[in-house]
Symmetry: C2
Subunit: 205 residues, 2 copies
DNA sequence: GCGTGTGAAACAATTCACAGCG
DNA sequence: CGCTGTGAATTGTTTCACACGC
């Protein structure tokens, strides 16, 4: 019931719950029990109830959870119910894919500016954004209210770019570069590392 | 010392260790202590020693760990020291980025075939691969010895494509589709979900 | 002395089991 | 009765602290 001291692992599960709630809503369902949802996702019903209980009481005794209501509550907890402005650093093949990734736009995470360290790319288009030089980063972040940076540069440019993002005032970075970033306290990094994912897969084969 | 019953969370840290070992090797270092490595990565020295102890004894008392030796041992544990053959399903912008992603090739994970459900794309090139139709999947997987599938299709096509991969005999899937896949026991799925990562970031902001 | 490897202790997460409510 | 919400019990993970070897 209290929202203090929520384990990080619980927060990482909330987006998963949202995904499955949306799927059920699309199928025209209205209500689900923790048992039903657990079967669907592959976790225990107790875990779902416990996870939700960190944030409040969202279910109805004897009935289950209202899908639309629970989804809206979870999105609110994640602050995913308001619009976010993202800056993309790195206009390579990956940057291209990210700019065109529909999931982001459809879920209120909007890439509003693109940058590249390579001055040859500056001025050309990526999606409907004009690629800017890193010199413009701080001004653009301030002007457009950018809250989150996406790093999609080669690993040898990543730390410098991260430093630039931090200097511009950004407090959250989604890092696609295959390297651990060092950032000051108060800045949060989420790391996506496909090679690491493949290596954990091949371990089990 | 025994290799039985290794917690999954330990396995997910091994690629991280490998990354930092490689970084140190590039810088010309030869040896590091668990304390030095812990400072670098941001974990406790005890955790590193405990993690490694699940697999054997790799350090030297009073000295630390030989970087090249430890890296080779970790790569061997992860089975990342031999070549793997991957099949890409989905030749959109993301598939494009994945085919050109150097990390994979440089680390022995080779995309050797590409497929798409859209017959209009079949026959055209992606990188230096010719896009094939899903009908060819089983034969190509068998012919080329594909062990891992990469799913980079829209969510409404993902479960069907996953079923096709499973039917072709594949036992590991790297899933970029924003949806939970249901697969039989014995098939392992690693899920990369950038939106979920953004949502955990915005939670903390 | 320095730093590993490892049981034991401390801490964290998950699951159990049941009171309580609609 | 069905199903939530939650303390208590269990299980899993991390950290401690020290014996041992270089």
């Amino acid at each position: 019931m209290a929202m203090t001291d929520v384990p990080e692992v619980v927060i990482r599960r909330l987006p998963l719950y949202v995904r499955h709630l949306e799927h059920l809503i699309e199928q025209g369902e209205r209500v689900i029990s923790s048992a039903g949802m657990g079967r669907l996702i592959g976790v225990t019903p107790a875990q779902i109830r416990k996870d939700l209980s960190y944030f409040g009481e969202f279910g109805r005794q004897g009935l289950g959870y209202d899908l639309v209501y629970l989804r809206s509550q979870l999105l609110h907890i994640l602050q995913a119910d308001k619009q976010w402005h993202l800056a993309l650093i790195g206009a390579g093949a990956l940057g291209h894919a990210l700019v065109h990734y529909r999931e982001f736009r459809e879920h209120l995470y909007h890439i509003v500016a693109a940058f590249d360290v390579d001055s040859a790319k500056v001025g050309s288009q990526i999606g409907d954004l004009t690629i800017q030089g890193m010199d413009d980063l701080a001004d653009t972040v301030a002007d457009l209210g950018v809250e989150i940076g996406i790093l999609a540069v080669p690993s040898d440019a990543a730390q410098q770019a991260a430093d630039d993002l931090v200097a511009s005032g950004i407090k959250a970075i989604l890092n696609y570069a295959p390297i651990g970033l060092s950032v000051p306290d108060g800045v949060r990094v989420a790391h996506i590392d496909p090679l690491a994912s493949l290596q954990t897969l091949s371990y089990h084969l």
